[in-house]
Symmetry: C2
Subunit: 239 residues, 2 copies
């Protein structure tokens, strides 16, 4: 199988090599960059034609590149100009100067930590620090090569790390953590996800209650004076 | 235009956003990784639908990611196991543990230095340290974000920087440099390209004459005791 053929002049056909299972079930609340939420664990199930041979030696690497399709934004098309949330939604940048999913070809690229590789009926690659929506199609995996790809002092535009917010759990929310038997894995993911403030830029001044869906739960929160207050947790119901 | 649509279940259609003009006219002699040959200058001409707006703010970044198609290896298909040249061609690694072009979907990813952006009739992005074959189709461009993507101490497998060879120009070759009026740009590219030893691993013990095509010239060289000797330069004739 070619897995990349020129369909007609200038069009290429791409077939996913596998799909991701991720705790992020909807766009709102997904980490804005890979690595920001180390507790975001996911795995890639490779299609069965990609056997154990295909990943031989990959475990020697600490980080891997995942190339994927932003499948949830394909229908929305692309835009030449984007208002990056980092800039408070006030300034416009060109699509190729951002990592926005609303881009031509809807191609994504994330550096994630390789946790372990399971080789049973098919190959399952466990990764962490992900920013993938559940069911994301993966189109390539490559090892991270630090001597080529680590440029810690590279000049960059507005894309600097922002300050994390402090997360406070209300007594009601803590009670619900016990009620639903959430474990450390869930607790850490909620804390780390909310510390990065998932609210859209135009809502920064609002202190209304937001709802973020993580795993099978809805987490209710509001932000007051740079503190995220988790006001409650409830089971997520598909709408 | 959607620039990424699901053609039929599980297949995605990708359209190049532009094409690269590079000094590397054939596979033999292309830098093995981006960044190894800073003198390898190239440019990307974006299709005319991608206007100046699309690159607004990109000039604030020092490095950019170029996602592309390994168009020259598509017909050769892909292989689960690869013999990386770094390992002398003796050991096999899984395709996803290497950056080989013989991969499913034939997707490439290179970090290159952004030199400048020209905005005339269309957008032309000048880059350096490239490892692209001439006429490579580009499918996305993204800014390099050091706080997310620079992991200088990441554990990696066999992919370490190798020692560069010393390049020696024979008197005949130096005479031809003058004869063909090669300038510093050409001279640097030849030096830097050959210092990384483009020979295939199974030829490491051979001291036969190799020919590498750079720009419009054929460069003849051999390697003896870790020294590259350039034996001559001649005009390249298309075969």
């Amino acid at each position: 199988m070619s897995h990349s053929c020129e369909v007609s002049k200038g069009y290429w056909s791409i077939q996913p090599i596998g799909y991701i299972t991720s705790p992020y079930k909807q766009k709102f609340g997904v980490a804005r960059q890979p690595g920001l939420v180390p507790a975001a664990l996911a795995y890639i199930d490779l299609s069965k034609e990609f056997t154990t041979d295909c990943v031989r030696g990959l475990e020697d690497y600490e980080y891997i590149w995942v190339q994927f399709i932003f499948h949830a934004t394909v229908k929305e098309g692309w835009q030449p100009l984007i208002r990056p949330p980092k800039l408070g939604g006030k300034e416009k940048k060109g699509i190729f100067a951002t990592r926005s999913p609303h881009r031509p070809n809807h191609l994504g690229l994330s550096l994630v930590k390789l946790e372990r590789i399971e080789c049973n009926k098919h190959v399952r690659i466990h990764i962490s620090g992900v920013d993938f929506l559940d069911q994301t199609p993966v189109i390539d995996i490559k090892p991270y090569i630090p001597f080529v790809e680590a440029k810690p002092h590279a000049r960059c535009g507005f894309a600097r790390e922002h300050e994390q917010l402090r997360v406070y759990w209300s007594p009601e929310a803590l009670q619900q953590v016990r009620l639903f038997s959430l474990d450390t894995k869930h607790y850490d993911l909620i804390n780390q996800s909310l510390a990065h403030d998932p609210r859209p830029a135009h809502q920064y001044k609002s202190n209304k209650i937001f709802v973020v869906n993580l795993f099978d739960w809805d987490v209710l929160f509001r932000v007051i004076d740079n503190i995220v207050e988790i006001t409650g947790i409830r089971e997520h119901i598909e709408t």
